[in-house]
Subunit: 362 residues, 2 copies
């Protein structure tokens, strides 16, 4: 999407590749929203570290990063010995797969790349195919998000007030995003609307990343405390909710997403406000039988006990907010049942959660 | 309640009076939870400033502070001229009433004190009566909270997990608190239970004040993000919710309280978890006809856009968390309808919200 720096507007992807330098180019997301910086990794190990250290995060974005990282590692090989080359590729694959062990996207993306590479007969051919496949993976991720936008934009009418939770924006994908895609598409169609961004404690991705994205795209928006959405719904100030998801169960239509999503769905149902979940098809899990079995990560309590930000003097600091002798409980995700979800916005159309199995199962 | 400082446990009230020094003694609440300090005001103007600057906050606590402040101002008068004395008392009353103009408690408390003073015939008698009346006001506030505890403790069974929101603890009253009173009483009865404190963004009173209180009283507790209660309820990890209130409508049973209370009530109703509101009778508004008419203060956006806390180096700092080019919407309170409330815990018993009018109206 567009980013305006010192008055100049330029288009960026979250992840891209500099073929001349054999370098993966990443938006350094840990500096956002306070600083915008592109970093280039020198080799596949640096790329793996960028995934581990959350320079880049979000399903689509880390998938593309791993795909590019595999091509980067393959292209760094010197020589024509296919056996040695394959051993090198294996090492690269393993290193990148271990960068964030619980994520499935990097592994899936790299499988795509390796399948394409197998069509080449020489090292040079396989190296070229690796980069082409990684580019295709990234392009496809961006295209899918655009399609989500095309379908989802129909839900947005002039004057609407839309609530979103956490960041399912272009920073989490290669471009455009999932939950934000309908907003960007509606804006391109000239529609006017207002977005409330849930702060999304404890990591505040709504207040930092989503708010930054919307500000860059000149979309009217305000950040609210996670406590405030219920009151705004009660007063008729929210017309539509769109969120993303980490995993949608194809069998049941249940949606796992950032902690707090379930709460917003319960409130929306009470107030008869449409609640939509926007996802690429790769987010659908066709195997798991019930949402209760989705593992809910208990994250470190320091996230709840304090906050990261910038002091008046401009230093980036963690501050302890909570009572120093108290601990915290910090579940990272929750599961929203299908009955609370109006529809799932996908690149191939909008479906009721219970329809996924019959209409989209491959 | 008890506070342990450097290994020594001592009983404190939020507000008390040092007659020898003619000084109102206050816990400096702005330093909590990072530092515990008692400050003494030198004169009624300093007492008024302590109310304005939120050294002391909470309905009962500022009521008692104003009552003591009036006695303090009256006792500072030198001479026997009743007319001059009355003029002085009038000035003190006005100064303290204007310290926090929207609050009703200071004015109500000072009316009580002035009514008692009127029984005296000399300046000295009125001065003595002023202090006695202020002490009686503070004692009564503490007694009411203890009665709330006595009734509310019956709701707490061994092994329960209790959710509370914001701070309706002893720091908001003279002692014991409202929402916390049943917990302190149940603990005194030897019951074991666990409390989840909602962080309560944007001002984090749950993470700071309530967590500090519970830690001081050795009550098992954890802070959670405001987003997490829904998930915990879904997994059967919350058995009871107790909150306080800023205003309960006697006619309808509607409850105004800190933003986010309504959300917790909606979630509790969905999960059939009892939801109680603990209040002294002075919190009941017998006049207002509907909750929609309760004015909801829109507070400064800086509260949502950042946080106060302590850096690793021990400095108290405000950090900006949110995107610097985004604004915020910050409603301070919300209104929970009677249908979502299991009961109102008062000093004279537990009532269904719709019963207040018939059973308690004076």
């Amino acid at each position: 999407m567009n980013v305006t720096l010192r008055g100049r507007t330029e288009h960026f992807r979250t992840v891209s590749f500099d073929a001349a330098k054999n370098s993966v180019q990443l938006i350094e997301q840990r500096l956002l929203p306070h600083e915008f910086k592109i970093i280039g990794t020198k080799n596949f190990r640096e790329t793996a570290r960028a995934i581990t250290d959350m320079v880049v995060r979000g399903a689509g974005a880390i998938g593309a990063t791993a795909a590019y990282g595999l091509a980067q590692g393959a292209r760094a090989f010197r020589g024509r010995d296919l056996k040695k080359f394959s051993a090198q590729v294996e090492l690269v694959f393993k290193t990148l797969a271990e960068a964030r062990p619980t994520a499935v996207d990097p592994v899936n993306a790299m499988h795509d790349v390796r399948r394409e590479m197998a069509r080449g007969e020489t090292v040079a051919e396989q190296q070229a195919l690796a980069l082409a496949a990684a580019e295709e993976f990234a392009n496809e991720d961006a295209r899918h998000c655009e399609e989500i936008g095309r379908h989802g934009a129909k839900l947005i009418r002039n004057g609407m007030k839309i609530l979103t939770h956490c960041n399912a924006g272009w920073l989490a994908f290669v471009d455009t995003g999932s939950a934000t895609a309908p907003m960007y598409a509606a804006q391109a169609q000239g529609k006017k609307f207002h977005v409330f961004c849930d702060e999304t404690r404890p990591r505040s991705q709504g207040a930092t990343l989503t708010a930054w994205e919307l500000a860059q795209q000149n979309i009217s928006h305000q950040i609210i405390a996670d406590n405030a959405a219920g009151h705004l719904m009660q007063r008729g100030e929210i017309d539509l909710v769109i969120v993303g998801s980490d995993r949608v169960l194809g069998r049941t239509g249940e949606v796992a997403n950032k902690i707090g999503t379930y709460t917003k769905a319960v409130l929306a149902a009470r107030h008869k406000i449409p609640f939509y979940v926007a996802i690429p098809l790769s987010t659908i899990d066709w195997n798991l039988k019930r949402g209760f079995d989705i593992p809910i990560e208990d994250r470190h309590e320091s996230e709840v006990l304090g906050a990261w930000g910038v002091t008046k003097a401009g230093r980036r600091e963690y501050i302890r907010v909570a009572n120093p002798t108290s601990g915290a409980r910090n579940p990272g995700f929750d599961v929203t049942p299908a009955e609370l979800i109006t529809g799932i916005i996908t690149p191939v159309g909008i479906f009721q959660p219970k329809e996924l199995w019959n209409k989209l199962r491959r």
